[in-house]
Symmetry: C2
Subunit: 663 residues, 2 copies
Amino acid sequence: MSTLHPRATSADADLLSADGPSADQAPPRIVIQYPRPSVDGGRYPVKRCVGDVVEVSADVFRDGHDLVRAVIRWFAPDGRAGEAELEWIDVHLGGVRWAGAFAVDQPGRWRYTIEAWTDVFGTWRDELARKVAAGQSELAGELSEGAVLLRRAARHVRSPEARAVIEDAHAELADASGSASAKCVTALNEALRAAIEREPQRHAAVSLDEPLIVEVDRRRARFGAWYEMFPRSWGGLRGVQAQLPRLAELGFDVVYLPPIHPIGVTHRKGRDNAPTAAPGDPGSPWAIGDASGGHDAVHPDLGTLHDVRALTEAARAHDIDIALDFAINASADHPWLTEHPEWFHRRPDGTLKYAENPPKRYQDIYNVNWDTPDWRGLWDALLQVMLQWVDCGVRVFRVDNPHTKPFGFWAWLIDEVHRRDGDVLFLAEAFTRRSVMRHLAKLGFSQSYTYFTWKNGRWELIEYLTELADTEEAEYFRPNFFANTPDILHEYLQRGGRPAFEARLVLAATLSPTYGLYSGFENYENVPVHDGSEEYLHSEKYEIKRRSLDGPMLPMIATLNHVRRESPSLQALSNITFLDTGNDGLIAYAKQTGADTTICVVCLDPHQPQSGWVNVPASLGLAPAFTVHDVLSGERYQWRIGQNFVALAPYWRQAHVLKVAPG
Amino acid sequence: MSTLHPRATSADADLLSADGPSADQAPPRIVIQYPRPSVDGGRYPVKRCVGDVVEVSADVFRDGHDLVRAVIRWFAPDGRAGEAELEWIDVHLGGVRWAGAFAVDQPGRWRYTIEAWTDVFGTWRDELARKVAAGQSELAGELSEGAVLLRRAARHVRSPEARAVIEDAHAELADASGSASAKCVTALNEALRAAIEREPQRHAAVSLDEPLIVEVDRRRARFGAWYEMFPRSWGGLRGVQAQLPRLAELGFDVVYLPPIHPIGVTHRKGRDNAPTAAPGDPGSPWAIGDASGGHDAVHPDLGTLHDVRALTEAARAHDIDIALDFAINASADHPWLTEHPEWFHRRPDGTLKYAENPPKRYQDIYNVNWDTPDWRGLWDALLQVMLQWVDCGVRVFRVDNPHTKPFGFWAWLIDEVHRRDGDVLFLAEAFTRRSVMRHLAKLGFSQSYTYFTWKNGRWELIEYLTELADTEEAEYFRPNFFANTPDILHEYLQRGGRPAFEARLVLAATLSPTYGLYSGFENYENVPVHDGSEEYLHSEKYEIKRRSLDGPMLPMIATLNHVRRESPSLQALSNITFLDTGNDGLIAYAKQTGADTTICVVCLDPHQPQSGWVNVPASLGLAPAFTVHDVLSGERYQWRIGQNFVALAPYWRQAHVLKVAPG
């Protein structure tokens, strides 16, 4: 990439005609269309991570037969700019596709555009070459044209060496006494071409109407293992801090804490979501605020602001992020209800409207009124809350139900936070219609919860992953595959027991670069509050547990987390190829990044053994026969292009995670 | 459709909050995206014909659970405007898709946008209904809110009847002494809903950033049968005129004439493209211009301007269009070369650059220099040429090689002509890369030549028709399926003889609403200039033929043209369903428009009989058993949903064109 010399796209008007400059420029001849990567035709940013190479392509063409040339022009957040070549690729997409790439080496908002121009000298040279090859000899006109082009090129170049080469060629072509055939040899000389190519003239260059935006995040935006823990079940913030060495050892990258703020007492929910709390019931952490404080306060039982700062600092030493919950709702005791009654929805009869989705009522929570005339005050207060936690070292927020808040608010909030700290990541907890989830991601959320929890069959997993990995969604929607949450205990886990937990763990950890577990998963916790419910019995949302990191799944989790870190192929999403198994009870897929290949085979049946033939297609580019190493069992197998027999069985071996040995 | 009351989309700000108007408006809550029909996200117009119903759809959603409403707002070329309802459709596309339609009843540039708003009363009513249904009784707050909404609604409506209903309801809800249950009955009353629905309030309405454009043409832009004839082979323009009654009887809609202008003498091409003309050789009509005139003149052997006018008038009486060729090149003798030397490319040594694609040279033709400083003069002269012919009654132009001229010129020219006469149609003769052909269509060409001539196998026909009919291309690219042209005699016709001609005729006439034949097709003319060439031996491009309308295929052509006119299903493109035949030698497809169904089965093998089972899927909605009438043979068959045996054979019966009898 060379340093960019900014240039107006209409600068070369004087080259348009042999008759000299034209003040009155005709419309451009070149069309640039369908640039990729892009989201909704450029309306929203594309997402990438630091260190990525952005593969760019676009249609570039003009009328007639003249040669065109094209480059990517990129602009970094720090003001640097540069160019990268675009090359014409195959005719498969209609014969007008060009491709190139540039690297993004810092976080922030990058921009790129495409510039294309007519290669006047190249076109002339190419036509002359074809005439010479065809033995045509009446070339005086062509050579006189060449002399004019070379005179201009000599005026254009800055390099003295290149100018000397071009001037010599010009002198020969302009010499009326010279021989035509000798002139042709000079004109087609490779050294002349190289001299002109050093600083090619951009004849009537055109660019995209608007540059495209690439939002570049730190790599954790795409790749990480999350662990969710209620600090009150671990001895508060200091208790969480005490677990950090073990969490690091297990390979977790993000520790996510549900709200750590004071909890309301009015209409507090009791155990198992009882409408009335019994004495001593702690209430739901999402019913935020009491007389002691609201979103900017720490629940006194959990610790202090100082403890938050100490926790984030300790976590950073392990390269772990502490993620806080950002839930915009208030208990009846939240200070804002009295300090800012205008931020809440009061009915004409004076009553306050609590959260509801009729006929359901959430009497312990009040939503803010986004239509308040003081919406700017409300927005700013929420920004200040978030900035306080950023100031305490929090760099990740899990945002509660963003789809019930205005889209414009999120776009603004994320932008405001990123102006102060580009490292802050936002995970959208929106379980709603696809379009709404996608829209939140387009507006700036770094990651999103997904439908993964409800995709347990082979066909629906393949369908869903294909959507996430192979459509435009892959440009902006980064999935976070939580295998469970405090709200979602899927029937598959309830009925499948340990084999189901193993299958879901392997799927989450290997399908998606980012995945998560809510504590208890490692203990196979799977009793619902009642049959048909996805709520846990004795849900931690309403009571305090005694938690410790000693569940039987932890060794498997640690193994997976470590192989993920060592495997570039497990750090990307769109590098997946599903493999035929001939058995819907077995799902198999290969992930490939560079020379790193991982093949996973998971038995989706938690009850019965399943066997089948996993078909490795030649298109993966592996050796005809190759060795694979199962990181879960330590065993090695000889595999091949084509059919490979696999037998898996619950309580014996639920999955293979196979690293392909370098060939 | 109601008459549109223009309304600013931010007009209803005072409804945003119960606390009154907010001067400082928060960003809109509703998202409208992916409107269809559209081309490249709205960058280029969609094409439709007069009388079409434009089926519109879009994603419409907002945050939270409030109900949204949406309409299409359309604007006709004559200034009329109106609205059409959009309704929420199934969840299949993500749960946010809305659909509606509006009719276009005049040619010109229509616009439409989508407006959506939050249905405040509907949301309130819906929540109240759910609470009442759940037996909740503490509804005083809700009812006080309803009273406010009804007071506003009463202020908003203009209809006295509706206002009375609303005011009565308001009085009841606002009465502090009334019973809550009676108030609920009133609030949920259907008459009240209907009164409010008469003029619903549009709370915080939003629209698309830009309206979308629908270019509406007369119906011949989509549907017509073309016949191409060199007037010099038919006794000049008067000879063509004499054929009009017979052409009308045969069912042709457009008679296309290659250039009718004087032909250059310098470097005139001889028979079979010989580099030198023999005495008496007429030259190629595309080598335009001699001392007597250029693009605005008529070749003296063909007639006069007066004859052109007489021809177009006579044609109009038969509802036939005369299409002229628009070829922008000049013979060495064209007056422009002396009158406007600056419009041509002169080399620095003074030589004029003739048309070439090295090493090929076209010494009888000079291209204009689009890069001339006087490009405006050149563009304007070309516009004047076209307007002269429009003035002579010409309403269709077949444009020669538009892909070698600037895109901007065509966009401008078509627009300028349409400002004067919206009925003028433009057929692009561009055989080049898909993207370039598509781009010309996006810029305004009404119709386009296609790759049809080179698609002779079953799979490639299906692939190509699927591209034309089922992708966004269908919104702007109207194919004209010429079965042959003076430049293209495909090997399939050369080797296949009469059966091949029959197959290609039926395919052209039934696959595409617009198709064409170049004269000689009806005589099975198929001798190439040499083996491996697509040029005719004794090509009419370089010599005069004696033509008459008596070829053996004419009865079949007339039959097809008439069934096309009687069959709405043969007047559309995107209504095609390919049917399985289990035999690559047989292609079968159904076309359906409303109650009209045509099923075609064509034997693609011109040498051997082919038989197979044509599978009629139940999804076509036909009766379990139905009668079909073969318009080619007059025979009737009993067909059914499922498999239907078909046997076709060269020289006996090459195709079925089956009209399904009304069930």
